[in-house]
């Protein structure tokens, strides 16, 4: 089934550890995004990528890094996790030549203790 796959689905992590959330899409969309969702704050953009090889900062980029080596993959890395990074993370993609609709993955629930 075409779409976006995120991994892991859920993870508990000790503070200070490094963590990479994986995101893969098979729709050949040029743009990809990472959002975090916290109660009462909605979806906040962390980083985005307009096309393979380029990335940009969103609303809340501090403590996170991304890479876009190819069209399909857009991993999000927490170099040294802190408790405030406990959240649900959603990866999304869109085709800028289309309607601009965002297609979301199922989310990764991360708990930092």
């Amino acid at each position: 089934i075409a779409g976006i796959t995120q991994a892991p689905t859920s993870q508990i992590l000790a503070a200070g550890r490094r963590m990479t959330l994986r995101c893969t899409q098979d729709m050949r969309h040029n743009a990809m995004y990472w959002y975090r969702q916290d109660l009462g704050l909605g979806l906040r953009l962390i980083h985005y990528s307009n096309t393979a090889g380029t990335t940009g900062k969103g609303e809340v980029p501090d403590g996170y890094s991304v890479s876009r080596a190819n069209t399909d993959d857009f991993p999000l890395t927490l170099a040294s996790a802190v408790p405030s990074q406990t959240s649900v993370y959603f990866c999304a993609s869109s085709d800028s030549r289309g309607t601009g609709e965002l297609f979301f993955g199922e989310g990764s629930r991360l708990t930092v203790l």
Binding site: A31, Y33, Y35, G40, L41, G42, L43, R44, L45, Y48, N50, G56, G58, E59, F90, S94, S96, T99, G100, E101, L102, F103, F104, G105, E106, G107
Partner: protein, 111 residues
């Protein structure tokens, strides 16, 4: 900046109507609307481009007033399945590479 949504929450009886508003302090190119059920990913409802057009999706429609930088989502004759959290997302740049979402409006439809 995040767009501002209102109300924060609304409770309806089945068959009643509701309006959810979204406003921005910045000039907008487009507005997206999504619905999210508990524990699931957001699902696209519609996108409105500048030009003041109105769109519809079943009994859900929306308008976009680019001069006022506002959009409204209209839910007519609400059904139980309409329950969820509704998010508006706004874009400033042509091409839609940075969609910024509001905090959401929680809608609960009861029988």
């Amino acid at each position: 900046q995040q767009p501002v949504q209102s109300p924060q929450a609304v409770i309806l009886r089945e068959g009643e109507d509701a309006v959810i508003n979204c406003s921005s302090s910045k000039a907008l190119y487009s507005v997206h609307w999504y619905r999210q059920k508990h524990g699931e990913a957001p699902v696209f409802l519609m996108i409105l481009l500048k030009g003041g057009e109105q769109k519809g999706h079943e009994k859900i429609s929306a308008s976009f007033n680019e001069k006022k930088q506002q959009s409204s989502l209209y839910l007519t004759a609400s059904q139980l399945s309409y329950s969820g959290t509704y998010f508006c997302g706004t874009e400033k740049n042509t091409g839609g590479f940075k969609t910024i979402f509001g905090a959401g409006t929680r809608l609960f439809v009861k029988a």
